[in-house]
């Protein structure tokens, strides 16, 4: 809560342990006590969950309830709101409260095993800590010959989450989180009395993208992850705050590591962004850092065609020589970069290569999207016209266009669900069908065919039920790049309704790459290439004479230009060929290019064909900044120092120096400094053309259905490699079709597109039109783009088979 919000609320004054304190009306006593530095012990209480009053650990004495009358018995301070004139005595000043708390603690411990020495929670356990602060030293239960209740241990409640029932204190934090926050009520209390336990449904697995949060908020060691169980002791870990690199949400995380190895990741606490929650991908997907295919030294291709190890200076020199000889060079940095590294690519292209042929978009893209990014996205942010997470709470309605937050932006999903539950924000989604994720956000569907979104969006301005106004927010996903006219229609809708607009890409580095000019028509800080004064400004900042006055080629054009020989060199960052608009064409370009320099963390199809391969530092090994979808810079420090890995910026600076150019920085910190110095463009920003740039999209023919697709949160993505338990919680890939189509198809369907075919089980989506089929984009084979067809195009459905 911000200061101004507090000022607006009525303050209530009460006395706790003889100290007067004023807190906003509605504050719970347990949190009011924190304001005067009194920590009342608690287990079930969690500030982000609805009060339940189950554990009774936080009992306090209330000699005056604010009406002059005492409350007859101790009260659970986690359930009673403050009242004017209330008097509360906690364990600090009240013997009654102290005895009540000691009594509850004694009860909690009678059935709790004494296995702290082998328990993962030992050392960071609220039960352990509070038993020390608010419990008795000796066990009367054990002394009186008590027999503990035991359970066989542990049981899997999912592939990732394990439950030790005998450690559980039944605070119901996990079940309440799943029901209230994630909307996945797949765990629930079973049985009663001391046999009460957390359980799962026989036929419904604990399938939640957010299950890991239950482990983190478990106040005992009852919930552990298969991944971290018995791996480490908390007091052996070093914690470094970080920012999750798996999506564009910018979730705060805590990286816990020991002797140079990440042992686990936890949610950080950032009320402005992710509160205290992160997705399972943010939490568990860090095994890619220690896979066998990690690159650890530079390689250059020999005369005999083999890649061989090389020293850094040699690799720099070979790369520079090769690029100089290759002629025109295109730069494809990918979408996973920190803003500093993206700035380095942007600078490298302009300063060392003298080209605007740079495009971070390693996915289907369009010229309309590029115009949209320059006109509507770059430089927008909190306090500068862009919506924030907090705006979602305040919004009367939120319109999602081509965006499935549960899969593509987990933190955003949780905040939208909260906005709907707590603030009655209405959620609308322009999509081909209503997903479970939309249902969990209390949302309603605005049906649209793949590729036909533009008309639907334009129609929204006149629809009575979807009321968009100045307190509304429109969130558009990156997939709309290839829906002709959609982004232009969204921009018009925002303008006519006054709604705030934001673009939500999938990758952590996408927005930073926009801001730093990793686009053929945009320079760092939103400077349009077409604007002469912006070019002069950028050239001056870089200390070069000038910049080409025409925009460069986008990623698709670079691939084409390599094929026709007009571009000879490629500098490729973290790009997976199968993510690109046409994987086959991209691979052909890699083969055709005269010289390829790859900067990668792990071996990929790009590094295998490259002429020089540089290993680059992962997020743990470098400081940096991710710019999230809000446009909020999310800076983080390196978890590990003195590793051999160099950030992309350092590698590019090395190549540039061999090319005789000076980027003006070598380290990430220097790149950051230069980026800040260059600053934002204060001249006119680019405007969106009234009619979108022409796009060629081949829709389905009469006997085909249109292909709708997006990536599930957990799929075959390479950054989930090395994490078998996490992978096991991924959803089963299915093909969703209309009820009519499903009846004709049977249990299995084979989809045939112009790039191949995919066979999947059929699942019915009631509101899907008969001529649309949905498949997950990267859950089978090499993914839909490589194996089937491009999104929005036509595919044939063939039924049969089991």
């Amino acid at each position: 809560m911000t200061t101004s919000e507090i000022a607006k609320t009525d303050l209530v004054t009460l006395t706790i342990d003889g100290v007067q304190v004023s807190v906003p009306a509605g504050t719970l006593v347990i949190r009011a006590a924190e304001q005067i530095g009194v920590q009342i012990p608690r287990f079930c209480d969690h500030p982000l969950l609805d009060p339940v009053g189950a554990c009774r650990q936080c009992l306090v004495d209330v000699p005056d309830a604010g009406n002059g009358r005492p409350m007859p018995k101790p009260q659970a301070s986690c359930t009673i709101p403050v009242a004017e004139g209330m008097v509360v005595n906690t364990q600090v000043t009240s013997e009654v409260a102290d005895k009540a708390q000691q009594g509850i603690m004694e009860f909690l411990l009678i059935n709790h095993p004494l296995d702290c020495p082998v328990c993962d929670k030992g050392g960071e356990c609220p039960l352990q800590n509070q038993a020390m602060s608010n419990g008795r030293g000796e066990s009367r239960f054990a002394a009186s010959g008590g027999v503990k209740r035991t359970f066989p241990k542990p049981i899997n409640i999912s592939a990732q989450v394990l439950l030790d029932r005998e450690r559980c204190v039944l605070c119901a934090r996990c079940t309440r989180f799943s029901e209230q926050i994630a909307g996945d009520p797949f765990i629930e209390m079973l049985e009663r009395g001391a046999l009460q336990q957390v359980g799962i449904y026989e036929k419904e697995p604990f399938e939640s993208y957010f299950s890991g949060n239950t482990i983190q908020i478990c106040p005992v060691g009852a919930l552990t992850s298969a991944d971290y169980r018995f791996r480490s002791r908390p007091f052996d870990l070093v914690s470094t705050p970080g920012i999750a690199e798996h999506d564009a949400c910018g979730a705060a995380i805590r990286v816990d590591h020991r002797r140079g190895v990440v042992m686990r990741r936890l949610a950080g606490n950032d009320p402005d962004v992710n509160e205290e929650w992160i997705s399972d991908k943010d939490r568990f997907a860090f095994g890619y850092l220690r896979t066998d295919d990690r690159l650890s030294y530079p390689r250059v291709r020999d005369e005999d065609g083999e890649l061989r190890p090389a020293s850094w200076p040699e690799a720099f020199a070979v790369a520079a020589r090769g690029l100089a000889a290759a002629g025109a060079t295109g730069v494809l940095p990918g979408g996973r970069l920190t803003a500093e590294d993206a700035f380095a690519y942007s600078t490298f292209a302009r300063v060392a290569l003298g080209t605007h042929d740079i495009d971070f978009r390693a996915r289907p893209l369009s010229a309309e999207e590029a115009d949209f990014l320059a006109a509507e996205v770059v430089l927008r942010g909190p306090g500068n016209g862009g919506p924030t997470y907090a705006d979602l709470d305040a919004a009367d309605s939120v319109l999602l266009v081509g965006l499935e937050p549960e899969d593509e932006a987990g933190t955003l999903f949780l905040r939208l669900r909260k906005a709907n539950r707590k603030h009655r924000t209405r959620v609308w989604s322009v999509a081909p069908f209503a997903t479970d994720g939309l249902r969990k956000m209390g949302g309603s569907l605005v049906p649209a065919h793949p590729g036909g979104e533009a008309d639907v969006i334009s129609g929204l301005a006149h629809r009575q039920d979807v009321e968009l106004g100045s307190t509304s927010v429109i969130l558009v996903g990156e997939r709309m790049a290839v829906s002709p006219g959609a982004l232009t229609a969204v921009a018009h809708l925002a303008r006519t309704t006054g709604a705030k607009l934001a673009w939500v890409p999938r990758r952590a580095g996408d927005r930073g790459a926009v801001e730093t000019g990793c686009l053929p028509h945009l320079l760092p800080g939103g400077r349009p290439v077409s604007d002469a004064s912006a070019r002069v400004d950028a050239a001056a900042a870089w200390g070069i004479d000038g910049l080409p006055d025409r925009p460069g080629r986008d990623a698709d054009a670079i691939v084409k230009a390599v094929a026709d020989g007009s571009v000879g060199g490629l500098v490729v960052g973290g790009v997976d060929p199968d993510d690109t608009a046409d994987p086959a064409a991209f691979r052909a370009a890699l083969e055709a290019a005269r010289f390829v320099v790859a900067l990668e963390q792990r071996e990929t199809d790009v590094t295998r064909t490259a002429d020089v391969v540089f290993p680059v530092a992962p997020v743990t090994d470098k400081p940096g900044t991710f710019v999230n979808w809000e446009g909020r810079p999310r800076e983080f420090e390196a978890a590990f120092v003195n590793t051999n890995a160099l950030p992309d910026a350092r590698v590019l600076a090395g190549i540039a120096e061999e090319l005789g150019a000076n980027l003006g920085f070598r380290t990430s910190a220097e790149a950051h400094q230069r980026m800040v110095e260059m600053g934002a463009w204060d001249g006119d920003r680019a405007t969106l053309p009234e009619t979108p740039a022409a796009a060629t999209v081949s829709g389905p023919s009469a006997d085909q259905v249109a292909l709708s697709t997006w990536k599930l949160m957990l799929d075959n993505g390479s950054m989930q490699d090395g994490q078998k338990y996490l992978r096991a919680t991924a959803r089963t890939p299915v093909c969703r079709v209309s009820p009519t189509a499903a009846a004709a198809l049977g249990e299995m369907v084979t989809l045939e597109g112009d790039r191949g075919s995919v066979t999947l089980p059929v699942e019915v989506a009631d509101d899907l039109p008969d001529d649309v089929a949905w498949v997950p984009a990267n859950s089978t084979g090499n993914g839909v783009l490589a194996d089937l067809a491009s999104p929005g195009s036509g595919v044939h459905l063939k039924g049969g088979g089991r």
Partner: protein
């Protein structure tokens, strides 16, 4: 002895086919309903307030006042829920009533629903008593057929539907908010209050929850007038109630008498304590009320006097134990019940009852220590008033009260190395005069 017994609810229990609509109407049934439907709903509420009727489910909250809490400006539907989940050890009044004259309850439901402007009522019956559920279902069906339920009841323009709901066998569902959870299809565990059911009860709508006997008393109040009802009983505990005598008594059963009668009177009516034995201890209102002894035979059985004697009137479930009974054993059995029925939601009740049973078991076997009595009392102190609902409080009542009156008997178990009583002697099949 004109005032000794006041059969109203039980008056027709002995009739041939007393549960049939025809029998009930022959005895004047559904007249009060016809009268009520011509009254203003608020006047019915006032009449029930004036009668002084207090909740018969144990807590004794004034029924009319409870009805008055329903916010009539709330746009949500109003609900009447009848708590027929009678499961307290010793309590056996609602089940016989529903068995013998279910129409008394149905008529009460109609009048009460009309008064609070509910168009939907639920009767939540304990799941184990299938025969009673069937009988109430049959009575409701008869009432529908006779036009007492359904649309536009007897041309009054008032609609009412009644659903008979079977519980799933959990004592906790007698707690009103746990009952609502169960009725909504969830696990029976008590809800956090506020909001209170009167404001946000069943399906988050204003809800009145009353005991069977309370609702069944309403027709007589409307039929005979509030003054008639208030003329019985004591100053603050008006009217009559069913007193259920069980245990070591010559003629166990239901005795309907004005509140304020005494156990001595009731034992006389029931033919005295089991032949050849003396009263040792008794519960005034089921196992959750602290036990009393023969020194309390003349305590008026109303809310105030029993409270003053250190116990609670509760459900007027008078369990009578004679001198063959081991109090430790009886308390252990009760405690085992509470352990089994604790819902598990809150720590003191869940863990406390688990531990209490272990300590009591040791004491009963004579392997405990004298300090265990202090631990036992301290445990009870840590449960009483600390639990989420009254179940935990109830679990401590027999223990603290039995130690208060029979501490020596506990110690005797320890010095004797086991129970000094013959458990067979306390059974009803024991030979007469066995000690």
């Amino acid at each position: 002895m004109a005032d000794t017994l006041t059969p109203v609810l039980t008056a027709d229990w002995a009739d041939e086919q007393s549960w049939k609509l025809a029998t009930y109407e022959r005895n004047g049934g559904y007249r009060a309903m016809r009268k009520a439907l011509t009254m203003a709903p608020d006047d019915i509420v006032t009449a029930v307030k004036d009668s002084g009727l207090r909740g018969r489910g144990g807590a004794g909250f004034p029924t009319g006042m409870k009805w008055g809490f329903i916010p009539q400006d709330n746009p949500n539907p109003k609900y009447l829920v009848v708590n027929a989940d009678e499961s307290e050890p010793g309590t056996c009044k609602d089940i016989p009533l529903m068995m013998a004259t279910p129409h008394t309850l149905v008529e009460g439901v109609i009048i009460s629903s009309f008064a609070i402007r509910a168009h939907q009522a639920f009767i939540y019956i304990r799941g184990e008593v299938v025969h009673v559920i069937r009988r109430v279902q049959a009575a409701v069906a008869e009432a529908y057929a006779a036009g007492h339920l359904g649309k536009n009841i007897h041309g009054s323009g008032y609609d009412l539907d009644v659903v008979v709901h079977a519980g799933a066998g959990a004592y906790i569902c007698g707690e009103e908010t746990a009952l609502l959870e169960g009725l909504e299809g969830r696990r029976g565990q008590p809800r956090l209050r506020p909001p209170f059911p009167a404001v946000a009860g069943l399906y988050a709508s204003p809800t009145v929850i009353n005991n069977v006997e309370s609702i069944a008393s309403v027709p007589s109040i409307i039929g005979n007038g509030a003054d008639w009802f208030a003329s019985m009983g004591t100053e603050k505990s008006k009217g009559f109630g069913i007193f259920s005598l069980s245990g070591h008594i010559a003629r166990p059963g239901q005795y309907e008498a004005p509140l304020g009668t005494t156990l001595r009177t009731l034992i006389d009516l029931a033919g005295g304590i089991r032949h050849g034995h003396e009263l040792k201890f008794w519960t005034p209102g089921g196992s959750s009320t602290p036990i009393l002894t023969d020194e309390h035979l003349d305590v008026p059985l109303d809310f105030e006097a029993v409270g003053a004697a250190g116990s609670m009137l509760g459900t007027r479930a008078l369990q009578i134990f004679d001198d063959t009974t081991c109090v430790v054993r009886a308390v252990l059995r009760w405690t085992e019940f509470y352990k089994h029925e604790s819902c598990g939601k809150c720590t003191p009740c869940r863990e406390g009852t688990y531990w209490l049973v272990q300590v009591l078991t040791n004491l009963e076997k004579g392997v405990g220590r004298e300090e265990d009595l202090e631990i036992l009392l301290d445990q009870c102190d840590n449960i009483l008033g600390r639990a989420f609902c009254a179940l935990g409080d109830g679990a401590t009542s027999p223990i603290t009260s039995s130690i208060q009156y029979f501490r020596d008997e506990y110690l005797q178990h320890l010095s004797n190395g086991g129970c000094p009583f013959d458990p067979v002697a306390s059974t009803l099949f024991a030979a007469e005069g066995a000690r």
